[in-house]
């Protein structure tokens, strides 16, 4: 029988993931929105700087005031073409914008300027690496559009006394250039669907960083992902009905959202119910999706060509100039770095899988050895990023910091254990590694007199152990080293302590 668990009367029923995968074949689709890092907005000269006071970066154009006319930002078009080329897409010889009409207060114009049936880039594909296996992701299109304003919802539910539910809108973000990158349906993932989704979004972040077209900071919303998922009885069957989960904003959440939707849809299908084609909201805190607008109530955006903007027709020369400006393709870059660093295939796969390629490269450039750079990013820092649910480069520690920590270790000023405390300090915003070491007093005790006295006390306090060492049982030295390290609160060079013990007892 189907094991369907009911979390509560309101939560969706879920089928355990493994069982769901044994009964259904998932088909994925990913829509990634990337905010470009242009200085000004898509159609006006307002600044795009993040985090400014509300409604200080708006003008008649992005507010849609009567008579204001948009003019397209040339840098946004260049970035769009470069992204399209990097995704191996065809660049349209001519394309246009359209108005997507809708009535949410997040767009003051009552429409969003977007590309509809004439995207700037179509029909591409990329090869990513999923747990060591190559996987081909088809790219349907990449198109330009503008971001919407940001709404804060207040009132009623939050316990306010006066006033009904209402929304507060800040239009600083309205009109910032966005590129929406849409995959073709991704088939053949089987049980790897969550890993494929995560790997693709992680790969895309790295590509966009390399192109220098976006800050791709998921926690600030400059890269946002919508996850489309459907199930079918077996790989040959027609696609099932899909759900669209909006605004899944961390790599870990992308993975979790896919898993959750597989389990939710499987539970419905296995009990003879249908999957509703709808928008769903992802809840980061509880790890569930909930129903939003239903697509079956026929959203009708009444798209029509934007009459205030003229067509874009990039010349072949221009496209080729931009193609020549692309950085080294990811696969070639990876092979070059692997050779430079002397990493095995497995080591390289771990680095790429952790989204640490660029970070390790930059840490090496800052002076660390490849092995040390890999060690810090893939163990200590990966664990912390995972705990915090953020990508490695969103942790708040730079490659330069990591290289500085390693150079303190290499100089014998801190040991690995103290280095972890230094990382804690840097992550807590206490400054550079050097500053954390002096502020927290983390430096190892290199005062030979102090060390020697501590060793003497350890020998005197453990006569039995000392006797064993005198008798040649070197393994027993560990107990004395431990006693010294404890007395020195871990701030001693264990190797030097060992040398002192052996000198004194031989």
């Amino acid at each position: 029988m189907t094991a369907v668990s009911t979390r509560s009367t309101t939560a969706a029923e879920l089928m355990p993931y493994d069982e769901a995968l044994s009964r259904f074949d998932p088909v994925l689709g990913l829509e990634v929105h990337v905010e470009l890092n242009t200085a000004s907005k898509m159609f006006c000269g307002c600044s795009t700087v993040f985090g400014r006071e509300p409604n200080t970066q708006t003008c008649p154009v992005c507010l849609g005031l009567p008579g204001a006319l948009p003019v397209l930002n040339a840098a946004a078009v260049e970035s769009a073409i470069r992204i399209g080329l990097a995704l191996n897409c065809d660049i349209a010889a001519e394309c246009r914008f359209a108005r997507k009409n809708y009535f949410y207060p997040d767009m003051p114009k009552n429409f969003q300027t977007s590309q509809y049936d004439e995207p700037i880039a179509v029909n591409g594909g990329v090869d990513i690496d999923v747990d060591g296996q190559p996987f081909r992701i088809g790219i349907e299109r990449a198109h330009m559009e503008e971001d919407t304003g940001k709404s804060l919802h207040v009132g009623g539910a939050t316990g306010r006394i006066h006033g009904a539910d209402h929304s507060l809108v800040d239009y600083n973000r309205a009109g910032i250039p966005l590129i929406e990158i849409v995959t073709k349906p991704i088939e053949g993932t089987g049980r790897l669907a969550p890993a494929v989704a995560r790997a693709y979004v992680g790969w895309l972040r790295e590509l966009l960083l390399g192109l220098g077209v976006s800050d791709v900071r998921m926690e600030q919303g400059s890269l946002r992902c919508d996850v489309n998922l459907s199930l079918r009885p077996d790989p040959g069957a027609p696609y099932g009905t899909r759900s669209e989960t909006k605004n899944v904003n961390s790599l870990r959440s992308v993975e979790r959202a896919v898993r959750y939707e597989v389990s939710r849809q499987a539970a419905r299908l296995a009990t003879g119910r249908r999957v509703v084609q709808e928008t769903r909201h992802w809840h980061e805190d509880t790890g569930v999706t909930t129903s939003g607008r239903s697509k079956e109530q026929a959203e009708d955006y009444r798209y029509f060509p934007e009459p205030d903007l003229v067509p874009i027709a990039p010349s072949v020369t221009e496209v080729e100039r931009l193609r020549a400006s692309l950085p080294e393709p990811p696969a070639i870059r990876r092979a070059r770095l692997q050779a430079d660093w002397g990493f095995s295939d497995l080591e390289m796969r771990d680095v790429v899988g952790a989204g640490a390629l660029l970070l390790v490269e930059q840490t090496v450039a800052a002076g660390a050895s490849p092995a040390a750079a890999k060690k810090w990013w893939l163990s200590e820092l990966a664990r912390r990023a995972n705990d915090a649910g953020v990508a490695l480069d969103e942790l708040g520690i730079t490659p330069e910091h990591v290289a500085a920590v390693q150079s303190l270790v290499d100089a014998g000023r801190i040991n690995d254990k103290l280095a972890r405390q230094v990382l804690d300090g840097v992550l807590a915003g206490e400054g550079s590694p050097e500053q954390v070491v002096s502020a927290r007093g983390l430096e190892v005790v290199s005062d030979e007199g102090k060390l020697s006295a501590a060793v003497d006390r350890a020998i005197a306090g453990n006569p039995g152990v000392a006797e064993k060492i005198r008798a040649g049982k070197m393994a027993a030295a560990g107990a004395l080293i431990g006693a010294v390290m404890k007395e020195m609160h871990g701030q001693a060079d264990a190797g030097r302590v060992r040398e002192l013990i052996l000198e004194k007892l031989n």
Binding site: A39, N73, D300, P311, A313
Partner: protein, 109 residues
Amino acid sequence: MAEPAASSGAGHAMTRDEVARLAQLARIDLSDAELDHLAPQLAVIIESVAVVSSVAADEVPGTSHPLPVRNVFRRDVVRPSLAPEEVLAGAPEVEQSRFSVPRILGEEA
């Protein structure tokens, strides 16, 4: 994002139901009497515009702009924005320097 294109206005007479749906999409509250009054008028307008389409032969490309102009761009340069007091002067209500508007049902909290 492949939404169906608008179905109305493609060279056929508009029905009363279609006018009611358009009014709903445009958030215009029309009474039954207004619908009865407006639907036939709109139908006449749409039919008249459709005559233009019948003239356009296959070799005439669709156009979204009256001028044969392409690639009009501005440089990526920041220019001063409006002062927030000016911006918010047009708001129905203001709270925390933001536009205060009725909450839209079904939107994410």
